[in-house]
């Protein structure tokens, strides 16, 4: 009994000896305290190396070089990427295995693009594109595109979209177009369509009249515009390729129209009877309309919110042109712009978080953005005369008309005010651009 008791005590002492260090060490472990660091970035472009795409023939190599060039200029256009100078590339463009990633790291590249072009039968080509993460040391995207050889440029835009999407998580705009009113001569204004970067200009109307304010349909398959072909302003709709033009409501004077992003309806500024300009909602065939505003002042420039629930417009009911918003049924009209005496051409961003508009500052117009409630006003341009903004479908850039120096041209600027660049010029000037959605 006594022995057992002593044994128990001995065992207890042993346990104490074993456990004590653990108990002593435990609080020390608990005291382990990691420190916190917060890293905020520099604003700078993302460096990417794009090697010329290669082929087995001179022609394929030439096409490959052109594709790489277009991909490079597409990415450069965004102001987000910085394609590196190909002259600095040492690695064989054909090498797609055992790539020397440390060499690319030394060049400052974060990503690497390699590709190949293979001619197929029937005038088709097959283009393979491989995107590598230089620091992961692996291929992150690999795609093969096939199509008519003449569509090599479109394939290049698709590849650029793929790169943009992978590294930013956002959709690119390289499969979009811009429509605008251009003046081939002093007396005529026609509707044109160009790629997002101003390339591939196509004339859409050819009626020798004044055609203005073109605007894309939701699927980018049609364009509505105001034409003076009949002597007074009426609304027309035409296919993107310039086919199937028709007047929506020939008997009505319609100054400007905008497609709903959710349906085929149009919001237009037009005259009802002999009255002044009001905002109307028009059925796609123009057969009937709903009057949304009814005010002795001028109401004009309607555009939709991205969800189609609201319409923003300009009215001088307060004495000077200001921006107003209302529900799509005309209810809840209220003024939202209070900064500046002359605010016009409002357009809602695709994400719905901001409005772009033109405001008169010191006798000329500049492009501004603000929240839909009228707060947080930001000025994007400060020189020239800048009007008619329109958002890129990813909301990262804004296209607008700008009079700087000789004539009016189409410019693009990033939504934060950086990366301003002209994209379209026309002999007599180019005005009122609108950016399309993604074109299938």
């Amino acid at each position: 009994m006594t022995l057992s008791h002593e044994r128990t005590r001995a065992l207890g002492a042993l346990l104490l000896v074993v456990l004590l260090p653990c108990l002593v060490a435990w609080p020390g472990k608990a005291r382990a305290q990691r420190r916190t660091l917060v890293v905020t970035p520099f604003e700078r472009k993302f460096k990417i190396a794009i090697q010329p795409f290669v082929g087995d023939s001179v022609e394929a190599n030439a096409t490959g070089a052109r594709i790489a060039q277009v991909v490079s200029s597409d990415l450069d256009f965004t102001g987000i990427f910085q394609p590196l100078n190909p002259n600095a590339f040492l690695e064989d463009a054909r090498k797609i295995e055992n790539i020397d990633f440390t060499g690319w790291q030394a060049l400052g590249a974060e990503a690497l693009v390699k590709g190949s072009v293979t001619p197929e039968t029937g005038g088709m080509i097959s283009v393979e594109a491989r995107i590598f993460d230089v620091y992961k040391g692996s291929r992150v995207v690999g795609k093969r595109y096939s199509g008519p050889a003449s569509e090599w440029r479109k394939i290049a835009h698709r590849i650029a979209n793929e790169i943009f999407k992978y590294f930013t998580g956002d959709d690119g705009v390289f499969d979009t177009q811009i429509t605008y009113a251009g003046k081939p001569n002093r007396l005529v204004k026609e509707v044109y369509v160009a790629d997002f970067d101003g390339a591939n200009v196509v004339q859409v109307t050819r009626n020798g009249s004044i055609n203005n304010y073109p605007n894309w349909s939701r699927d980018a398959g049609q364009i509505c515009f105001t034409s003076f072909k009949s002597g007074r302003p009426t609304l027309f709709v035409i296919g993107r390729g310039g086919h199937g033009a028709r007047s929506v409501r020939p008997s009505s004077t319609i100054l400007q129209g905008a497609w709903s992003p959710m349906s085929s309806e149009l919001a237009v500024a037009g005259q009802v009877g002999v009255g002044n300009s009001e905002i109307l909602r028009l059925t796609p065939d123009g057969a009937s309309f709903v009057r949304l505003t009814n005010h002795p002042s001028i109401d004009t420039s309607p555009t939709w919110s991205p969800d189609g629930s609201k319409i923003v417009f300009v009215s001088d009911r307060s004495g000077s042109p200001q921006i107003y918003v209302m529900n799509a049924d005309g209810s809840g009209q209220r003024r939202i712009s209070y900064q500046g005496a002359y605010n016009v051409h409002p357009v809602w961003s695709p994400k719905g978080d901001r409005l772009a508009y033109a405001a008169m500052v010191g006798g000329h117009f500049d492009i501004f953005t603000m929240r839909p409630d009228g707060t947080d006003v930001a000025q994007l341009t400060s020189s020239g005369n800048n009007e008619y903004p329109s958002w890129a479908p990813n909301g990262r850039q804004i296209v607008f008309q700008s009079g700087r120096g000789a004539g009016t041209a189409i410019y693009v600027i990033n939504a934060n005010g950086s990366n301003l660049r002209p994209i379209i010029r026309a002999p007599g000037g180019a005005t009122a651009p609108t950016w399309s959605g993604h074109i299938p």
């Binding site: 660091l37 917060v38 520099f42 604003e43 460096k47 974060e110 992961k136």
Partner: protein, 276 residues
């Protein structure tokens, strides 16, 4: 005696208690008058408003401290050593190179030194100017350091000197200086497509450093949910880990950081740079 004087002035028959009180009052007035006389004769303490250098130092205590730690070059000329007198001045411990409040006292008390300091001020200004030019990059670093510290939300000044999160003197200063360099390198290595700028998304990385300053291990502890953004942090960390020129923490400061770091990458605020 006082009583008889009193009697002679006001006549007899006065209450003796009243007499005592009047006498005490007269005595108190006499003492106060004497004190006032002595004080006024010595005049007020001279006040020196001249040396602007003191103001500059008071304005930027942290920056100066951090610079001292980083460059290892104290600025004795900004606080000229008094010439072996005044015990108040000797109180300043030598480790504290820039005790601002003491300097104010020093300026108040050492009026005669101001003229000497004025002659020195030209050379001091010249040195300051030179230092400004030479340390343009350092100042940017210090600003970034300050921003990082604010964002850390660590109550630095509330903790004792030399402790983790303590003020910026001693070991704490070594640690802060080291972390500022580390954050600067991480920022430099972080190539973020500008499309992410201004977004409140973040990746949290767990990271350990060895005494030689190398990153011995790191892992993404909390993803942003956006693979493209996570990848930017992955690349930044990989690049940083590969570098052979990472700063080496002071051995004493290393004890404060040996448990590792939680590094948050967040582009909500950013340093405007080359874009545009």
């Amino acid at each position: 005696m006082a009583s008889s004087t009193f009697d002679s002035l006001f006549g007899g028959g006065i209450d003796p208690q009243l007499k005592r009180m009047v006498a005490l009052s007269a005595l108190a007035h006499l003492v106060l008058g004497l004190l006032a006389f002595l004080t006024l004769r010595s005049g007020p303490l001279p006040v020196d408003y001249n040396p602007a250098i003191n103001v500059a130092l008071v304005d930027l205590p942290e920056v100066t401290d951090l610079k001292d730690v980083k460059l290892g070059a104290p600025k004795p000329k900004q606080l000229p050593a008094p010439q072996q007198k005044k015990p108040e001045v000797k109180e300043a411990p030598q480790a504290k190179k820039i005790p601002e409040p003491e300097k104010k006292v020093f300026a108040l008390e050492e009026q005669q030194k101001t003229t000497k300091r004025a002659t020195e001020s030209k050379s001091v200004k010249r040195e300051n100017l030179q230092a400004k030019i030479e340390s343009a990059v350092d100042r940017i670093r210090e600003q970034q350091m300050a921003v990082a510290r604010i964002r850390n939300r660590v109550p630095d000044s509330a903790m004792p000197e030399g402790t983790p999160g303590g003020n910026v003197r001693g070991i704490g200063a070594l640690r802060v200086g080291y972390e500022a360099q580390l954050v600067m390198i991480l920022r430099d290595m972080w190539e973020l497509p500008p499309s992410f700028l201004g977004q409140n998304i973040e990746v949290v990385v767990s990271m350990h450093i060895n005494p030689q300053g190398q990153i011995i291990d790191w892992s993404i502890e909390r993803s942003s949910g956006n693979p493209s953004f996570d990848d930017t942090v992955y690349r930044a960390m990989t690049k940083t880990q590969q570098r052979q020129d990472l700063p080496v923490p002071d051995p004493a400061a290393y004890q404060l950081i040996k448990d590792g770091y939680e590094v948050t990458f967040n582009p909500l605020t950013f340093f405007q740079g080359e874009t545009g």
